[in-house]
Amino acid sequence: MKVEKVFSVLLSFFIISSVFGPLFLSSAAATAENTVEESNRVFKATWGASGGDWGFPSPLTFYPRGPGYVMTSFCFDSLVWPDETGNFTGLLASSWENSPDGLTWTFYLRENVTWHDGEPFTADDVIFTYDYIQGKAAISPIGAGWYNTAVIESVEAPDKYTVRIKLNRPYAPFMQQVAAVIPIMPEHIWKDVSDPTKYMDDKAAIGTGPFILEDYNKDQQSYKYSANENYFLGKPVIDTLIFVKSTDPVISLKVGDADEASLTLDQVQALKDSENMKVIQGPGYWVYRLRFNIPANSILENTEIRKAIYHSLDCEEIQNKVLHGGGVAGSAGYVPPYSGWYNSDVTQYAYDPEAAGKILDEAGYDEVGSDGIRLTPDGEKLEFQLLYTSDQQNQRIAELVQSYLKNVGIGVVLKPGDTKTVDGLVNAGNFDLAIYSHGTSTDPERMLNSFPVSTGWNNTEFASLANQQMSTLDEGERKELVDRMQVLIAENVPTIPLLYRNVYSACNQDKFDGFFYTPGGVGGGVPTEYNKLVFIYGEWKGQSTASEKNNTASTNSPSMNAPGILTAVMAFAVVLMLYRQKR
């Protein structure tokens, strides 16, 4: 008797939830349908499962790591901006020129540009921004990390629509690293702001960009932008741009919660059956590399040993096993093969365990212990600790490296940790080997110049080349210097680039088309499909939002399943009753 009662409570709970669950959804869809206007072209995107909050999208308050800068770039314009070919197109500047000595850049600004609040944009705003970032904002992590103002001597305005930027030395990547990065801020709003890193007023998001910030919700981790009708390059082809956080981008794309998402290769493969999804891929400029503790470990300090380690690794196979083809095997010169700066004539270290063994023999590690690990002349095991962050990819890479090195008689003890722990130990010099993965940026200055710092490898020729290429304005000459730098890297093996990861994204083609990966990246080298020009030059293909909602409702109709569940529950109940009666 009583058992039935409990079960009937349970059953009614299930029945109620299966009946009302769909109601929740269909009513939600209904309300959404009723409230949107016919012409409202809403585009929903999602970026990464790890987090959807990239900070307040203002030049000095976004989070320095992750896509915060790109979120900001929707509202704010710089002087120039890279287009789909990677060349610079004018945003706030309509044309520009460089003096023969490379020290003075002159930008001719667009007239009739207004800020989102209607105030006119002039050269004074540009001067204000550069001064402000160079002065007040330099203390902030963003100012220090994203905006390279160290090369700027002075900024002046000969007239209302001309800006002259003087540099303290010729700086080859000026356009890519400075003019196309620093977002111009309105002087009339920022002139009284004393602590820019904490200024998150509504007004702090007022820029000249193609989108106006409607809402940023830190707790729900979502952004809502509306189109700037008066944008000087033309009205965006969508009316509303929404970024939401998603647990699973693939499911979000499939059920229509998102129209576009950045993905991994595995996720792309899960979308194979969806014909309306257009997948694009691009160079990731993201490297996984093996780091050595060069100055502190007397064994690894020997270049020959590092070469031997390189010979013992099959980078192509590592790439295939870790990224399943979603990347490129590492190249000894560090610059990835898809880069325009790639030098194909550097020494490569083919997978050759025998050669590796030979080098090790010659270096005096020819005695092998009973466990197959070589011994040092002191009779110690030739064994290293390998630090890595314990995410899936790094874990896999570390295990592969361990087995490859074991193969040539080098012992490896795996030491996993979280990102900060690994960073901390490496910074303290408390490691032998480490797996590092990070963005490389796209310009040789950012990609290569920090090499001695990030590897512990000191080479005077490299240092002088690094300095030289930075101030060499002739692209051909600069390429030669960069080629030589790659040769030095390949010869000295200060680090082993294991593989470069590609980037992927998918977009619902029934709704929108036109995403591309910018060669060279945006914001000084971020490889992303969210170049804001996409929303100016792209093509809206959806009907109206209302009918779009209908589509998603019919393909994913919850009411279809409710009867099925009800039947199942009923059947279960009947079986239970019969069972009870029998007893």
Partner: protein, 332 residues
């Protein structure tokens, strides 16, 4: 009635909890500082960050000053205690807004999720546990004993993934992430309630399914012991209806259950973290997880303080309730 409340007990337990709270404050302060990778790393990014951040020593030291990281440890600690008393947990290093702001946006969602899950799992656990013990060694009991602990033995994030795939994707019944539909125009209050409720269903079911077995097993065991007591025999002999006998049994075994539920709260915080991560539910669990990854001390400290304050308060309340129900509890 009031003579059943033992004020001496209330006070002494109160002091114990206050001391515990102080210890938690202390641990919160020191623990993260002894971990490798200082707080400045999260401000500056690192070499494994998305972009290498270039920073010179002067800026670095200005930043250290700015965040008071140059002060000696004991001074930092004193500052921390004084500020904590004013509910000031400083600025989040990562979010760059006051910690209280970050937490106040997240805490309600966690309380909603944890509160409803606690209620649901307790009610279900008690009902099922009672039924199970009443039908001890019979088929229903055997069935429940096999099925219910299964929910506990499956890792909660795996359970969540199954729920997402089944109810969210395959059946399309409920939304799979977040706490509400971003930027939906609610026409009235009830449509908002519906939206929030539909987002709550899956994480709630997942967390409840994970937490319920503990209560179920306890209730089953405690009630089974009661079944052998003379008063039960007496009740049955008096010809009381099953319903009334069960109520008697339940009332006599409620003490340990209340304690258990209160103790469960602490563990529930852990389960909530996983559930929130799986369903992207914007609560404290997700916040703490991210703050840990970023070594955002102020947020970590703030969150732990708020959560432990919550857990301690609930435990304290349960303690008093227990001493009220069972007069002996306070007389140790």
């Amino acid at each position: 009635m009031s003579d059943r409340v033992q004020w001496g007990h209330v006070l002494s337990r109160g002091l114990e909890y206050a001391l515990t709270f102080f210890l938690i404050l202390t641990v919160n302060f020191f623990l993260p500082r002894f971990m490798p990778g200082g707080p400045l790393l999260s401000v500056l990014g690192s070499q494994s960050a998305d972009l290498p951040v270039v920073i010179d020593d002067e800026t670095k030291s200005r930043l250290m000053d700015y965040y008071h990281l140059n002060d000696p440890l004991h001074l930092q600690f004193v500052h921390y205690l004084i500020d904590a008393a004013h509910l000031d947990f400083g600025y989040s290093i990562f979010y760059n807004v006051p910690v209280v702001d970050v937490i106040s946006g997240r805490l309600p969602w966690t309380l909603l999720l944890m509160g409803t899950a606690l209620l649901l799992s307790t009610v279900l656990g008690i009902l099922l546990g009672l039924e199970s013990s009443w039908n001890r060694e019979k088929r229903l009991d055997n069935l429940l004993l096999i099925v219910i602990p299964l929910f506990r033995s499956v890792p909660v994030f795996f359970l969540g993934s199954i729920f997402i795939f089944l109810f969210g994707y395959r059946l399309g019944l409920f939304p799979v992430s977040g706490a509400l539909t971003p930027y939906m125009d609610y026409q009235d209050f009830s449509s908002m309630v519906k939206d929030v409720a539909s987002h709550l269903v899956l994480p709630l079911a997942c967390l409840s399914a994970f937490e319920m077995p503990g209560t179920y097993l306890l209730v089953r065991n405690v009630c089974s012991q009661q079944l052998e007591r003379p008063y039960v025999l007496m009740d049955i002999a008096r010809g009381l209806k099953d319903r009334h006998v069960k109520r008697h049994i339940l009332l006599n075994s409620i003490g340990p259950v209340v304690n258990q539920v209160a103790a469960m709260l602490g563990f529930m915080v852990g389960g909530t973290l996983f559930v929130e991560t799986v369903f992207s539910y914007p609560g404290m669990g997700l916040l703490v997880y991210n703050a840990f990854i970023e070594r955002d001390y102020p947020v970590l400290q703030g969150a732990f303080v708020f959560m432990s304050l919550f857990v301690l308060t609930c435990n304290y309340a349960a303690d008093i309730v227990c001493s009220y129900i069972d007069g002996r509890a306070g007389q140790e």
